[in-house]
Symmetry: C2
Subunit: 625 residues, 2 copies
């Protein structure tokens, strides 16, 4: 589908969703005529409306009766009628109808004009509108637009569907507290959320997906499998990884650096704080603003920050000595942490944290080396995500004709042609997005698809023509002249925390053998000396081979012990008792998703461990036993 | 030597050094009668005196004439005569003799009494004294003591040697600016440093050691071998490790975790910032005070700090779920960073940094497991330092009978007995130091000896009875009761930066094969196709084997290329040309310190790479070729 087709389809769905926000408010007004309304924008997959019922509070138990009212309004197939009025008439209407929030918006709009309108336009889609300067509306200067369906009238910039009958399928989902205009000092209203799609089938698919996503919630699985914990004493958004979670982190990061080492990347190591001067020079100081953690030195007058990015540090290593064309590319990689002072309300398990571990790399190369480097990155991306058994698409972000882009235009054009060439060479499923490049260079983003069909941006591969300029980086070219290198920012996993949140939900915690924190569980049928010794012997052999094996020699029943291992999603379970001791052979129970041919084979302990070791080293997705 | 003997010897040497400080001042007074004097304490290996000559500045060129004057005073064999005077008489003396710094000290002393005296007593050895409460002096309340030799009189608490003839061997070393009483707002004085020993031989030995240490200065070698860099934009005390330096870091840290994994330690991963509440509860908030980097969140009201220690974080992982006696020991290890806001003047290359990487571990165990855990730690220490070819001694710090120690006394006694038992079992060269334990538990410190005979505290192994109490840690004992675990803090390398500063100076940058950032250099005799191909082929094989090999195919002469490799201290150099291509055999040049039998052997490329690989994996200290 082409981009403008997508946009128009999205706009149709958007109008449906926004119309449903009005219908929700209209239904609430029928049930609670005293209701005061805030704003009701479209959000991902649906809409919400902020409502104030005074002492009365809407609960989820009220949803059926609200939905009944909404359905009535839909059946009535009311026309959405647009009208325009002078802003003062609008204020009078709000006053008369006891809608203080609308009144406040209109007064602000009158006083602050287009500035406020623009702000509201970007921050609260769908509301309000009506004065010139808001591009999506067509209203005379000094006027505001209203929409009316049935007896419900709302200040609104539209657009809407024609009649209430054309809104598709919907469902109210939840109600939550929300401060008026997101300010804690304002009254708390109730935000009523709904989802909406064009067809019942699409709605049901979305609801099923939500149901499945709930079961897969990485926070829940993280707790059940003991992967990470949070502590009130440490703080929100600052996960602590347990031994099991750390195995996942380390195996992923080791794989990433293994792939990179193969392509000539070398590890470097940088401090996590820096004087703010470094980020002033790089330009990040302005860019990150409030998101920066400021670090106060008590011993010196230096002002420090926790690094929000690693590139300027790697630049310092490059810049520390003269470089010749023969020394390039310099490829630095590091699994390190960057910090973002996220709002508490935005934090979410591992998906959004304040301390972000990245498999970050920076290449400093000659312009004629861009292609080989980009090619190598896509090879690494393919190796990484095929080992992880995840599909992906690519988005190539290019410049447009505006003058906001820095760097030589010819360099941009050549680089964009290269990106498209390597994308084709690697047979990527890709789209190009003109005008979506950062001001400093074009890029390839890798969008990874999870088992629920959700897309996540993980790997990224970004050209940078500007930072080498800002830091005055150079190399001596073959002709002896001082030349500017090009920089490439690259990550295969991106934020390891965020990737883990995706991957845990993708796999439901059923990790492949190479990643499983516990690869093998030995379950003893009794606690007799011979059995205990046999199990301990297997443990010793596994340790030698570098495999992660534990022995359950507790006095639970064998059935209970096997179930425990299943609940903990251990790939292999070995039950050992007299039979196994006598034969020296084991019949491994294999986690169901790993089984290719559902035949249980018997093999010697040595052969079993050797096979698992090969599987782990080969990073296979299925058991070969 | 027993501890009190050592102390008395040190005191004798201390009196000599302090007497030399007076003699220095007396000599300066003879040369510049207008000199104003600050303080003149004893420091490691010598002494200094702070002097203010107004516009006149002493330079190193003045040292010979000062030393001549000093020798005269020594030859005169003047008696050090002690006298006591009321503090006001002392002030009058200072005024009359135009000694404003002494006058200020005496006025402060008069006003603030014992508090100031105590502060000065610990911060500025040797000066001043005279009022009760200062344990080392024997002066009547309200009086101060003076010492006189020849015509030179100084406010001083002593003690001194009998006569100026009994001061041993000395040498003036350097002069540096120093603010009066270490405050930038005060006048800048000149600090004149000297070293002093009982005999000429000891002095010469020290001077030789300094000369050798200068050659081995890790900052110099770090630059020459391109191991780490500093950047003004990043800040002082914040090293950035280049690819080569990062190899050293990683190999050391990997070895440390390999040793630990063998003993059941598991990696965990924690954030570098935390709410200050964590350190308030642990007690570190008070302990570290000014050394803490405070982190300001712009998005929340939380107050954060950069972690100065890792233990309270690991405690949070332990505390996150119930533990049974069967789950213990829990052994957490992590190569992570702690932060100390050191004063800029105290920073020194890698030896003193603000961002400190530690191979830190914490064991949570039952009291009956202390011995096995301590035993394991000493085994790891032995394995670590024998691979590093460094000798070490141990110091066992025990409690005394005072009541400053927390935790059960019986637990302390048992634990101390265990420490001594394992020290004996491992045949450690150790001393015990009563009264030197921290308030929370006894410990073993490992003092590593470098090639210059200097001792460095690196590994540490510390019992902690208090933090489990503060965080209310528990496990369910076999009898079902809730019991307190014991904590062990352990590091094998300690600060990796500091260890590297020691190790670089110990080895002069001649790293063993397993640590060498570049293990093999291939030097081509010409740049012909066949030679280049042969070299590239060796490179490919080395890469496969995980060896660090580079090819020097530049158009320098073979001699120059070999010398370059020698300067860069590469363990193995392979010269390849027609002969090698035809025979497929190479004659490796081996760095001289690695050679056991000085015979140059010839072997096939495969055998050579295999041998180097074995040496690297075996962490050997000598070449087996």
């Amino acid at each position: 589908m082409k981009k403008d087709q997508q946009n128009s389809a999205a706009n149709g769905l958007e109008a449906m969703r926004h119309s449903l926000a009005h219908i929700t408010a209209a239904a609430v007004q029928r049930l609670w005529p005293e209701a005061k309304f805030g704003v009701g924008p479209v959000v991902e997959n649906g809409f919400y409306y902020d409502i104030d019922l005074g002492e009365t509070k809407i609960s989820e138990e009220d949803f059926p009766k609200i939905e009944v009212e909404m359905k009535k309004i839909i059946e009535e197939d009311q026309k959405f009628e647009r009208s325009e009025q002078p802003i003062d008439a609008g204020i009078a209407w709000a006053k008369q109808n006891k809608q203080p929030y609308k009144e406040e918006l209109l007064n602000d709009l009158k006083r602050e004009g287009t500035t406020l309108a623009k702000e509201l336009d970007t921050s609260m889609m769908g509301l309000p509108a009506g004065i010139s300067g808001v591009s999506s509306t067509n209203v005379e200067v000094g006027k505001v637009s209203f929409y009316k369906n049935g007896s419900f009238i709302d200040l609104c910039r539209g657009p809407h569907v024609e009649t209430t009958g054309k809104v598709g399928a919907f469902k109210l989902m939840r109600v939550a507290g929300a401060y008026w205009r997101a300010n804690e000092k304002n009254p708390q209203m109730q935000r009523l959320y709904g989802v909406a799609f064009e067809t019942d089938k699409e709605l049901q698919k979305h609801l099923d997906m939500l149901e499945e996503a709930k079961k897969r919630d990485h926070r829940k699985i993280g707790r059940e499998l003991d992967l990470f914990v949070f502590s009130d004493l440490v703080g929100a958004g600052l996960p602590l990884f347990t031994p099991k979670g750390t195995v996942l982190r380390e195996e992923l990061l080791n794989f990433s650096s293994e792939l990179q080492a193969k392509h000539g990347y070398q590890k470097v190591s940088i401090p996590h704080i820096t004087k703010k001067e470094l980020y002033e020079m790089s330009g990040h100081w302005d860019k990150f603003g409030d998101e920066l953690f400021l670090v106060q030195s008590q011993e010196t007058s230096d002002e420090f920050v926790l690094k929000p990015m690693n590139c300027p540090h790697h630049v310092q290593i490059y810049a520390a000595k003269p470089r010749s064309y023969r020394d390039l590319p310099q490829r630095y990689m590091e699994a390190t942490t960057q910090y973002r002072d996220e709002k508490k309300g935005e934090l979410n398990g591992l998906a959004r944290v304040r301390s972000i571990s990245i498999d970050d790399s920076h290449v400093f190369c000659r312009p004629d080396q861009i292609e080989q480097e980009m090619d190598a990155v896509l090879e690494m991306v393919r190796d990484m995500y095929s080992a992880l058994d995840m599909k992906f698409r690519a988005r190539l972000s290019f410049r447009d004709d505006s003058d906001k882009y820095l760097g030589d235009k010819k360099l941009w054009q050549d680089a964009q042609a290269i990106l498209e060439r390597v994308a084709k060479k690697h047979q990527l499923d890709y789209e190009t997005a003109e005008g979506e490049a950062a001001f400093y260079g074009p890029k390839i983003d890798i969008m990874v698809l999870d088992a629920l069909g959700r897309e996540w941006q993980c790997a990224t591969d970004q050209l940078d023509f500007v930072q080498p300029e800002r830091f005055d980086l150079k190399y001596v070219a073959e002709d002896g002249s001082e030349t500017r290198p090009v920089m490439i920012h690259k990550a295969l996993l991106g934020s390891v925390e965020r990737f883990l949140s995706v991957y845990i939900e993708h796999t439901v915690g059923k990790f492949p053998i190479w990643l499983a924190p516990e690869q093998i569980r030995v379950v003893t049928v009794n606690q007799e000396f011979e059995t205990t010794k046999f199990a301990a012997n297997i443990l010793e052999q596994a340790k030698e081979a570098g495999l992660r094996l534990t022995v359950d020699n507790s006095n639970e029943s064998v059935g209970k012990k096997i179930r425990n291992a299943e609940v903990e999603k251990v790939p292999y379970v070995l039950v050992v008792g007299e039979k196994e001791i006598n034969s020296g052979r084991v019949a491994p129970r294999i986690r169901n998703d790993l089984v290719v041919i559902p035949v249980q084979s018997e093999l010697s302990v040595e052969d079993f461990l050797k096979t698992v070791d090969n599987e782990a080293k080969g990073r296979v997705n299925k058991s070969s036993i």
